[in-house]
């Protein structure tokens, strides 16, 4: 059982310069997407509620960059990052948030329930634990195709029935599923340690499941852990558990200013911003210059601006459409 975290804070040699730049670009895209959603929400263009992923980008990007095409992913209600990390088109995802017919689910799903099977995303789930259930089931079907299913979920979900039932189910059946707990220290508004007995990783370990706790803000560390986990699951050694320690820079949802944070906590985590860490590592390890980074960032910003312009001009679904179920 591997319980030792890979060394944090440095780019690994598993990914070359271009691949490493691509990780940064994807994280930057997620950050800018979430900034954009927040602004559109304030303008009344994004409806209901949103759960932003800012601060946790390294987790989704590190894991999803290690997948094979036959693998599948289940995300959470905080799932924009999971979707973008998988390559769900920025415009299609944004349009879904805007409730437009051009959205990736035609405006039927909204923020919490995005599905894009063309991009390996079997779904995002509005109730905690849904991702664990979906991925456990998916692994049952994927095992004959050398595929692995990945479930993202938060620390709060480790107290949920799905967590205990599905981890046991997957372990006794040696299913090819990787459980990625994004421990961002809070279940909604409540510190995880106030409502969670013991250490999270001790729970999979009690099931004799391979488990590791890693720095979830270092994208190369996450990528390396995901590679190991996926290889483990793919060769038939059963499920694998990753606890990625991370932090969300925003409140739980739109109405939450995050007043429960401890003094100085946010500032401390800002120092460990996954984008900042990646930017520094790209410069140090791959000698990526400021000009090149600025060019990448400008390209991402341009992509978002174009998506917003197109999205706001896109049509809403025809209200009269109420399609029947297939039979």
């Amino acid at each position: 059982m591997s319980t030792v975290a890979p060394a944090a804070g440095a780019a690994t040699t598993e990914l070359d310069r271009d691949a490493s730049i691509a990780l940064y670009r994807r994280m930057r895209l997620i950050r800018r997407f979430e900034d954009t959603i927040q602004s559109l929400f304030q303008r009344g263009e994004v409806h209901g509620t949103t759960h932003l992923y800012s601060g946790e980008e390294a987790s989704a990007v590190g894991v999803c960059s290690a997948l094979e095409p036959q693998d599948r992913v289940a995300g959470t209600y905080r799932g924009h990052g999971h979707a973008l990390a998988l390559g769900v088109p920025t415009g299609g995802l944004l349009d879904e948030m805007l409730g437009r017919s051009t959205g990736v689910c035609g405006g039927r799903a909204g923020s919490m329930n995005v599905v894009d099977l063309d991009h390996q995303l079997i779904g995002c789930f509005g109730i905690i634990g849904g991702s664990i259930a979906a991925a456990t089931g998916a692994s049952l079907a994927l095992r004959s195709r050398n595929g692995v299913a990945v479930a993202f979920f938060g620390d709060g979900t480790t107290n949920h029935g799905y967590f205990h039932e599905c981890l046991n189910f997957a372990q006794v059946m040696k299913l090819p599923v990787v459980f990625v707990c994004e421990n961002n220290l809070y279940g909604e508004f409540t510190p995880w340690e106030d409502v969670t007995a013991g250490q999270i990783r001790s729970r999979p370990e009690a099931l004799e499941m391979s488990a590791v706790t890693i720095d979830g803000n270092d994208v190369w560390t996450v990528h390396a852990a995901a590679r190991e986990a996926l290889a483990h699951a793919r060769r038939g050694d059963g499920p694998y558990f990753i606890e990625a320690l991370t932090y969300r820079f925003v409140g739980h949802s739109r109405s939450d200013p995050g007043a429960y944070r401890k003094p100085g906590e946010l500032d401390a985590w800002r120092q460990r911003d996954p984008l900042k860490l990646a930017r520094a590592a790209l410069a140090d390890v791959f000698d990526v210059g400021e000009d090149e980074l600025a060019e990448i960032e400008a390209a991402v910003d341009g992509e978002l601006e174009a998506a917003v312009e197109a999205g706001l001009a896109a049509p809403y679904p025809e209200p009269g459409i109420a399609r029947q179920f297939k039979d």
């Binding site: 079997i122 109730i127 664990i132 456990t136 079907a141 059946m173």
Partner: protein, 330 residues
Amino acid sequence: MEFRQAIRDALDEELARDERVIFFGEDVARPGGVFAVTPGLQEAHGSDRVFDTPISELALAGAAFGSAVCGARPVIEIMFGDFLPLAMDSLVNQAAKYWYLSNEQASVPLVVRSAIGAGGRFGAIHSQNPASWFTNVPGLKVVAPSTPGDAKALLKAAIRDDNPVLFLEHKRLYSLKDDAPAAEPAEIGVAAVRRTGGDVTIVSAMKGVHDCLAAAELLAESGIEAEVIDLRTLRPLDSGTVLESLARTNRLVVVEEGPMTGGWAGEILSLAIENALEHIDDAYRIATADTPIPYSPTLEDAFLPSAQSIASNIRSRLGVSTAEAVGFTG
């Protein structure tokens, strides 16, 4: 052929026909199921496709959903219908909504088999009919056969259906026998007229159909000819067959084994009122009381609709007899 054998045969034939079909649940494989419905399937189809699971209804339903989305055609058994609430998130929030929310990217071809119904002295949490908890869910189909032939034909259809299907098996029917069922799947959503008659239309499902047929014989002794409709599927409902019969008899009685309040019987009365008010001389329900299901034999027997109580209520309502009606009516 026994009802339980018909279900086993349907599973056996579909597992053989389509390699995407898998079957799993608590005690279904090596033990062969608590009601001895599924022995031998694991030996015939292998432990990768037919297997026992932990006692984990959440995981079972979640695994059914996730595997269905990824190309399998799972059939699971939730041992007693009373345990379905434990599986409800995956069935209601995930499986039933998926086709619609995903903008029709993928269907969810799963089947949940579950043993339901009272009369076995199992008490309040092993005897319920959960149909009405699920007939309220768009995206789910609810199939409720009354005969071995239908059990086989409808289970085959359920497994081939691209939607999530809840397949209800009344415990008191497992030993029921009829002739060798047809090999072909039946169409889901089509009711059957089990007995024709011009005086009153009685609608029911599962074991209730047999009670209603027996009640119809009792009514015939009083000169009342009842038409008995077996719904066979509770969602979607075959309103056409019900309304057509009502137009001829002008009287509608719906018999549901389940609490009156919020039950599917009320849905059928609504259909009649909305679509055929001009044909209605009378329309009402016979259901169980709004209490938990009692254990003691005398209490459970009094609680359930029976041929006698159904016949007595209909006679009373028609004014054919002054005999006091028994049972609970609307």
